[in-house]
Amino acid sequence: MRRVVPFLVLATLVAGACQSNSSTPSTTSITILTPSSVAALDTEAPGMLVLESMQAIVNLGEPLIDFAPAGTTSPDGVKQLDFNKFDGRLAESWSLDTSTKTWTMHLRHNVVSCVGNTFTADDVLYTFSRAKSITGSLGPLGWFFYNTAGVANFDNSVFPPTSQTTLGDEVTKVDDYTVKIKVATVRRLFLPAMTDFFTFIWDSKEMKAHATSSDPWTHDYTANVNAPGFGPYCLEKWTKGSDFIAHANPKYYRGKASIDKIDFRTVPEDANRVAALQSGAAQIVQALTPKEFDFLKKAGNGVKVNGIVGNQYLFFGMAWNIKPYDNPLVRQAFAEAIPYDQILSTSYYGTAHKWEGTVPSSYVGFHKTATQYSLDLTKAGQLLAQAGYPNGQGLDKFPNILQLAYVAEREGTLGPTATLIQASFKQLGINLQLNPLPQAQFADRVYAKHDVGLFLDDQDKPDLVTGEYALGPFMTTTGPGNYTKYSNPQMDALVAQIYAESDPVKQNDLLAQAQDMLMAAPNWIPIAEWETQWGVRSNISGITWHPEDQLRWYDLKVT
């Protein structure tokens, strides 16, 4: 027996090796590789903030409405949407009665979920009720988007001490296929909010079937098992930490998706994702660095890179309320000392462009500001001298403040960027220290506590595609995304005016004023808008960009 054991092991390994070439997928199955895994399917669980979870939910679920195709394609082959036009999804049509501030949604008939339940108004009411219950462990995002949309009673009264978490007459069922939604204020954001995956409609019958007395809103089931909805794909197998396999919903009301099966698989190593795509073992890879996408593009071999400048941006944040950044001259000097062109070519390999406003350029209400900064060290030196720091003298009094924080896990892009800025600042006599922080620590300090003096951020982006949403949370004194503690009563009043304005043209004029004001004395220095990219086998087409940056598998085609 002792002599046989090595041969058995060898035979197993050799037999295993012989299996290795059997992994070619059929033409209607594709494998998408991604660095992390789907963590949860509950929109009210922290795992939903993982990008892979978002990709899963946007393909299992369905919104009331969606953006209409723009009919245009980015230079790197990604289809675009028109953020001013909407197509019906679960709602066939809709109307707003401004006198009563009520939206009426006429729902689609004959929509069937993966488990065979028919979509009705009850599913919409359930979705709103669940969002208002704030029973999830994530700071309630369903509630947040309905609040942003202006839905009546989705306000701070849901929190203690009042805890008004029961859905009232703000959302009512007229009949099985008509729903009325009251809003506290009429906002342009209402329709964009209804496209967001945090407001996708749940299959209430299936959800209630998995509810328990201790979990009446089915958080456990959606966090761990499935997300019952009316989307184009149905979950087939989900192994946490590994893969997520979905098949096309045969009853999907827009017609069955052209790709039968999607294997959404976790492959943490970038190099392995690249190798698998090049060998044909995978058809799409995502979340590589710009350098790796550049390599794929140049290597060819049946692989292309699709990309689009959507809403991903890089900015340089400065704490508004602490010395020396409380001085606008210092902030302007820093803006003149950023080596924009070098960053675009070195960090992004030419797949980014300079950000010329404070709202993503693809969004409704973007305005190219009157003030534009470019690398001009002479001007930067003069501004510093005017601020009382000639040749950087005096700034050494703030050693703890002159530290540039960024997310260490994004070293591949932010590392070179930070070093270029450090080198440029050095020429002004400023000794900038680099401070890479772990993701969780960066999130705590920048996004929650707002206590970092200087930081580079390329992760945050406004989910809703209008200028007021891109400014409101970030640039108002009490805005939750006010990472720099910016406080300008003029800006607060202007943003309130933008939200209250119902004429889109006037709204855009006000947005332009706000952006000009911000750029003139920036608390954020906008640096770059960079491409969201995918490495794709050449027989895959149809990638369409949506604001959450996730692939909609229904759009994809295999030729």
Binding site: P6, L13, A15, G16, A17, C18, Q19, S20, S22, S23, S29, L33, A39, A40, D42, P46, G47, L49, S137, L138, G139, P140, F144, F159, A223, N224, T239, K240, G241, S242, D243, I245, D263, R265, T266, V267, P268, E269, A271, N272, A275, A276, S279, A281, A282, E409, P438, Q439, A440, Q441, A443, D444, R445, Y447, A448, K449, D460, P473, G479, P480
Partner: protein, 349 residues
């Protein structure tokens, strides 16, 4: 000394188990406080961008982070069961990121790691012990020189470097290995979960195609880990066998004219004890330390789970992982001590 018919030193075993329990309790409490001493609050990461103060407060309250650390400890340990059972009641809690219970997550990830490292140790020992023994029998021979160089060479590079090198060689260039995309091809039929180890479960289910599929995907990571692990084991075996062969009692055995087989048996018995300790320590370390191999081959084991949990400040998950790996390590070390005690009863006294 309380012993059974097999010579098992039960009193020694119970004493070591008692010490292990105290160690576990101390580590659990220590890790609990260490996590909370980290210079960051996990809530910022959990709530994401644009979270309002109310949302942050809601999450903090939901996770009991608005209570004192002693209250949180009481909840964790299960001394305060107002919000559910705790550690004493056998509940490790739920992940803050995924919402899944830690026990369930460990049940998913641990078998993958156990499968990887058990096969790797099996292959490593199978290769290392005969080679180490042969090298020791002829210490100046060519095999001994090769072994010396190899044991230095294998340990000189980190395992992920070898993993990437092997992928490049066997997958990209020679096409002998499957793509490093996990343990099963997406089209393969996964067996019903019994142990969580795909190769074992597929054998139980009699599904040989899945077994070979899993074996093919495990081949390269197992060989990589075995390649790295066999270096120190060969070295240890060679040195211990050499030392034993040069000992007085072995010279005496030879002078008595005992057969080569009998001498080899005595040599192995006397030299393997330190090697078992090394293997035990390495195995315990690999429970959480195989992360780089898991990462390179996309296996999704306990190591990767640990890294993800640390990066997201998922306190319950980190506490659970530490508890499980510590328990594993303590049990392995206990087993190693018991084997030592059986080989040399003086140790148990």
């Amino acid at each position: 000394m309380v012993e059974d018919g097999l010579g098992m030193p039960w009193k020694y075993v119970f004493r070591r188990l008692g010490i292990a329990l105290v160690q576990l309790a101390a580590i659990s409490v220590g890790v609990f406080f260490l996590m909370r001493a980290l210079p960051a609050d996990p809530v910022g990461h959990l709530v994401g961008f644009n979270a309002s103060p109310e949302a942050i407060a809601h999450t903090r309250h939901f996770l009991h982070l608005d209570r004192s650390q002693w209250d949180q400890l009481a909840i964790y340990l299960g001394l305060d069961t107002s919000s559910g059972p705790g550690l004493i009641q056998g509940n490790l809690g739920s992940s803050w990121t995924t919402g899944t219970t830690i026990a369930e997550e460990v049940r998913t990830y641990l078998p993958i790691t156990l499968e990887l490292i058990t096969y790797s140790f099996f292959v490593a020992v199978l290769v290392a012990v005969p080679i180490g023994l042969a090298a020791a029998l002829k210490p100046r021979g060519p095999l001994s020189r090769v072994v010396f160089v190899y044991s230095l060479f294998a340990g000189a590079q980190p395992e992920f470097w070898w993993g990437l090198t092997f992928i490049f060689l066997f997958y990209v260039k020679l096409h002998l290995a499957p793509a490093p995309l996990g343990i099963l091809n997406p089209l393969a039929q996964a067996p019903r979960t019994v142990t969580g180890m795909v190769t074992i479960d597929s054998l139980i289910a009699g599904n040989m195609s899945t077994f070979f599929e899993a074996a093919s995907h495990l081949m390269l990571p197992v060989l990589t880990l075995a390649f790295v692990l066999s270096g120190p084991i060969i070295k240890m075996v060679r040195q211990n066998v050499l030392k034993t062969l040069q000992s007085d009692y072995m010279m005496y055995a030879r002078s008595l004219g005992l057969s080569q087989f009998r001498i080899a048996t005595y040599t192995l018995k006397n030299s393997l004890a330190p090697c078992l300790t090394l293997i035990g320590i390495l195995y315990g370390y690999m429970l959480g330390g195989a992360v780089l191999i898991e990462q390179v081959f996309s296996l999704g084991g306990l190591g990767q789970y640990a890294v993800r949990s640390v990066l997201t400040f998922d306190f319950p998950a980190i506490q659970g992982i530490v508890l499980v790996t510590t328990t594993g390590s303590l049990l392995i070390l206990l087993s190693s001590d018991v084997v030592h005690a059986l080989i040399d009863p003086r140790i148990a006294r």
